[in-house]
């Protein structure tokens, strides 16, 4: 073959390649269509959460002898729901198949940056000085915070590679609660606390720094508990499927709110003051209001759980013949994948529903251990007569149920009391 014919044959062969394989499934359009639906919930329950309690819990610090001995009584009343406001700013959510970041970890390789759109949630868009919280307003933040505290809101995200993920982290920029007040050393009212949110000033207290470090954490190098709010022990299986799937992330905040009190020294004047604010209860470790080391450390009291499922491939469990509340104010039906351990005082379960509802839904096929978890005590405070919103008291596994897609499995709990 001379050079000329060789050139012609290359050209013709090349053009034949072009005709090959012009069928199949869309590729570019995969970029424009996410199969994942990340649902972020602020509840212990995965379905049918309790409605809000009418009042917050109150920390035992308010009944402390030192506080009650002041000239003026610092009000220790619960904060009614109608007076509560919440402002949450989330930078992003990341996920990883690994579970440990070391000094040599390359973060770009470690993390899957799948949900990078900032979300601003707020109870109301009005700020001080007649300003508006613009980002919250344009992001439908009021609507989203209502969804967050009920059935969850859809967090913008792109698809994930299939496989098992262990580390999930929510980067909470700010978490502000209202009301918050400060008091003088004699107990008299000093001022309302003001915080910055969405580049505006609002009444409220940024609790994020308080929940960053846990009591008894020795140094600032210990793992932060809110930025990010994370878990490294997940077994999150992202399915290899062409169907839409849900990544449900739950942050237990609703019905966990407690009125806390801290003593602090004002930097400018050196005066003793008291700070009163609303935040998740100190169910994990009791904080003393005037403990020089731990008073500001509430980290670890905000817990998260995450799971993935394909809605078309789930079943449900109906609980029948249960004995009910078992003496607790609030109780839940919870499930864990069969065989997995569940420490009800330190984690929130795989899925749960409120005790007044007896169906747990959206469960992938498999066997599940059923628990009942109850808020019967305030363990951290060593008070058994009161509650803190966290259902640390659980039944042992009441039963094991097999779930099939599209089927409602029934389980007769019989006697299954929180111990």
């Amino acid at each position: 073959m001379n050079k000329n014919n060789f050139s012609k044959s290359i050209i013709i062969s090349f053009l034949i390649i072009i005709l090959i394989n012009c069928t199949g499934k869309p590729i570019l359009s995969e970029l424009a269509n996410s199969r994942i639906n990340v649902i972020l919930k602020g509840t212990y329950e995965s379905n049918n959460p309790y409605s809000w309690n009418t009042d917050s819990y109150v920390d035992d610090a308010y009944s402390s002898a030192t506080i009650t001995g002041l000239t003026n009584v610092i009000p220790g009343n619960a904060i009614p729901l109608v007076d509560q406001k919440y402002y949450i700013d989330i930078a992003e959510i990341r996920i990883s198949k690994q579970n440990e970041i070391t000094d040599t970890t390359i973060l770009e390789d470690y993390w899957h940056y799948f949900a990078r759109e900032r979300q601003v949630l707020c109870s109301e868009t009005a700020a001080l000085y007649e300003k508006q919280l613009d980002s919250c307003d344009t992001n439908n933040g009021v609507e989203k915070i209502n969804e967050f505290f009920n059935e969850g809101f859809s967090y913008p995200a792109v698809d994930l590679e299939s496989g098992k993920y262990q580390h999930l982290a929510i980067y909470v920029r700010k978490m502000i609660t209202y009301p918050s007040k400060s008091y003088n050393s004699d107990g008299s009212f000093y001022d309302d606390i003001v915080a910055a949110f969405d580049n505006k000033r609002i009444n409220g207290y940024d609790i994020s720094s308080r929940y960053q470090w846990a009591a008894a954490d020795d140094t600032a190098e210990d793992t932060p508990r809110l930025f990010p709010l994370q878990r490294t022990d997940l077994s999150l299986e992202i399915p290899e499927t062409d169907k839409n799937y849900v990544l449900e992330i739950r942050v237990f905040l609703k019905n966990l709110m407690m009125k806390h009190l801290f003593e602090y020294t004002e930097i400018d004047t050196g005066e003793i003051k008291y700070l009163s604010f609303l935040g998740p209860s100190d169910h994990k470790a009791n904080h003393q209001f005037n403990d020089a080391t731990n008073k500001g450390k509430l980290g670890g009291n905000i817990l998260i759980a995450a799971r993935a499922y394909v809605p078309d491939e789930t079943g449900s469990i109906r609980i029948i013949n249960d004995t009910g509340a078992d003496g607790s104010v609030m109780f839940y039906y919870a499930v864990m994948p069969s065989g997995e351990t569940f420490d009800s005082s330190a984690e929130i379960p795989y899925a749960a529903t409120n005790g007044g509802n007896n169906i747990i839904n959206n469960l992938p096929e498999g066997d599940y251990d059923i628990y009942k978890t109850c808020d019967k005590s305030r363990n951290a405070d060593d008070i058994t007569s009161s509650t803190d919103g966290f259902p640390e008291t659980a039944s042992l596994s009441c039963a094991t149920v097999s779930v099939q897609a599209g089927v409602e499995s029934q389980v007769d709990l019989g006697t299954c009391d929180c111990q």
Partner: protein, 196 residues
């Protein structure tokens, strides 16, 4: 699908006819070039795909032969472009193209070529790691000047239209949005004259 194949076949026939019907000339007279290019690649701003991908880098190589004539050359090429994003989404694109390059009749020391061609674009999307080959169409402009007898240095800009909307959405997908691809490459180019 049928329309696409008809268009591609027509273009193939056109190119092949031009090659076969070209005036018989001795092989020594046929001008041939090989070249490489390297530069930024980007989804075309303002198009749907630019919402999901960012600018990154690409490069490629080509072979050009003066068939059917010195003014209308046939060019074959392959390139590789990788588009990232600020999320886990990414796209690897490998277009194999055949194009006719027309030398614009400017009496300047710099040569200008306008090109049009067809492609088989091998695409792999991340993180799903799915791949497919899609038909694509190429429009390009090239400017080059001689740097000695054997080497030309130049700048090329390629536009690729990757056609995907003819495909059916996945069977079980609800409200699935179909998009096409629009990509733009800008590259520094070096090519070597195989004969002179």
């Amino acid at each position: 699908m049928k329309k696409i194949k008809i268009i591609i076949i027509s273009l193939c026939v056109l190119i092949n006819t031009s090659i076969i019907m070209a005036e018989e000339i001795s092989e020594e007279q046929i001008k041939q070039q090989v070249g490489i290019w390297f530069g930024p690649v980007t989804p075309l701003p303002g198009t749907e795909i630019s919402d999901f991908l960012d600018t990154y880098l690409g490069g490629g190589g080509f072979y050009r032969i003066a068939l059917p004539s010195n003014e209308l050359m046939t060019e074959l090429g392959v390139s590789y472009s990788y588009y990232t994003s600020d999320t886990t989404a990414a796209l690897a694109s490998t277009p194999l193209y055949a194009a006719l390059a027309y030398k614009l009749p400017f009496n300047l020391p710099v040569e200008f070529h306008a090109k049009a061609g067809v492609c088989a674009n091998i695409l792999k999307v991340y993180p799903e790691k799915k791949y497919n080959t899609l038909p694509a169409f190429l429009g390009a402009l090239e400017m080059s000047f001689p740097a000695g007898k054997w080497v030309n240095i130049g700048l090329r800009s390629d536009y690729y239209f990757v056609y995907e909307k003819y495909l059916d959405p996945p069977g079980d997908a609800v409200n699935y949005k179909m998009i096409n691809g629009h990509f733009f490459n800008l590259g520094l180019m070096v090519n070597i004259n195989l004969n002179r």
